[in-house]
Amino acid sequence: MEKSKEWPLWEVFIRSKQGLNHKHVGSLRASDATMAIDNARDVYTRRSEGISIWVVPSNNITASDPSDEDSLFEPANSKVYRHPTFYDVPDGISHM
């Protein structure tokens, strides 16, 4: 069959309720941003899952490379002093 000109891919982010951040829920195809929002409403919020929608063209997302995982995130592992549990608090001290 003849190929049609496919609509671009969009990533969809939904805020489930006031006070929470938008969270990635999936992707869909749409010809423009307005249609992407409409389709996201129909596909991802049919059961009151959201009160706000963001759509972003998928090709505008830059992702870190999974093979760089070690060099990117390893430095955090050696800095245990960034966590409160690293420190000794004498007995009897509270509110700290």
Binding site: G26, D32, M35
Partner: protein, 315 residues
């Protein structure tokens, strides 16, 4: 050298799977894992979309407004499920349009159950109860599948699908408790959908070529026969509650094994339907092909509109 690198990557990959760490789209994965998933997920997507047809057949003839609204909501859900799954396949690099064209050319398969006709309103009950019931049995373990996007899509699908099964059972309950003709209609639908529902779990373990590798990769968590047995064990008591008869004289409780025995499945019928010779194969694929052809101008017009507006903006 290349081969040694691949071996090492494959070992690391399997270790991740063994430790129940999910695989995400950009992670390294063996080619066979990718192709297996693309095949399985796109077939699953096709099943959702083709699955709209036997039920869509009854929307205009639902017996009342409540039933019509419910059926419409269910069919709309199936469209959404198809979309989640096509998107998951796309994360693996599958060309969405190509996967759909493969369905239309007969190259790609979909669940054999949708090649059976829906002849009476009771079939809406049987489909929701048995077909969605069997699908849920299949999909619940897929929520723990090793591939992240597939597992996440399945979680969403399972959440939505539990109402599908209940609405089907409700239809059956009403019919089975109604007039003699209604009860006969319910029994007839059960008779026609029972065996095809058991076949939904796929060939028996001895004949299932993909099971072993898929289980090692944790794409699959149970074998076809295990899932089929679970389905029989939960469904037989439901049939009894409805006051209907299991259309298999060999079904009886096995005290020793703690499960129901059931009769032999007609695998010739299964392979015939999978091979394209079921009662509705041609009709289903023709309907999908027509939908794409008839909708093509909408796809193109929307894109032309966007391009025109964008060019105005940049001018």
């Amino acid at each position: 050298m290349m081969e040694i690198d691949n071996k090492e990557l494959e070992n690391k990959f399997q270790q991740k799977i063994d430790r129940d760490i999910k695989i995400e789209p950009n992670d390294w994965m063996p080619d066979a894992y990718r192709t297996t998933l693309i095949r399985q997920i796109s077939q699953h997507a096709h099943s959702e979309v083709v699955g709209m047809l036997p039920e869509g057949n009854w929307i205009t003839r639902a017996p009342n407004l409540r039933r019509k609204a419910v059926l419409l909501a269910k069919v709309q859900d199936e469209a959404g499920h198809g979309l989640y799954l096509y998107s998951a396949a796309e994360t693996l690099g599958a060309d969405r349009e190509q996967t759909i064209d493969d369905l239309h050319s007969g190259k790609a398969k979909y669940s054999s159950i949708f090649n059976y006709p829906t002849l009476t309103w009771a079939d809406m009950g049987a489909v929701g109860w048995l077909v969605d019931g069997a699908a849920i049995m299949n999909q619940v373990p897929l929520c723990r599948c090793s591939y992240g996007p597939y597992a996440r899509a399945m979680i969403r699908v399972c959440k939505e699908e539990s109402f599908h099964q209940r609405q089907g059972f409700e239809i059956m309950t009403k019919l089975a408790g109604g007039a003699i003709e209604q009860k006969e209609m319910a029994q007839d639908a059960l008779n026609r959908f029972w065996w095809p529902a058991l076949m939904m779990f796929g060939p028996s373990d001895a004949d299932s070529s993909h099971t072993e590798q898929s289980m090692k990769w944790k794409i699959k968590r149970h074998t076809n026969d295990e899932l089929r047995q679970m389905f029989v064990d939960v469904t037989v008591p439901q049939i009894e509650t409805l006051g209907l008869t299991v259309p298999d004289p060999d079904v009886k409780w096995n005290e020793v094994k703690g499960r129901y025995d059931y009769g032999p499945i007609d695998w010739d019928e299964f392979w015939q339907v999978v091979g394209g010779n079921g009662p509705c194969n041609k009709e289903r694929v023709d309907a999908r092909r027509k939908a794409k052809e008839d909708g093509k101008w909408v796809v193109e017009a929307a894109m032309a509109f966007t391009n025109k507006r964008n060019s105005k903006k940049s001018a």
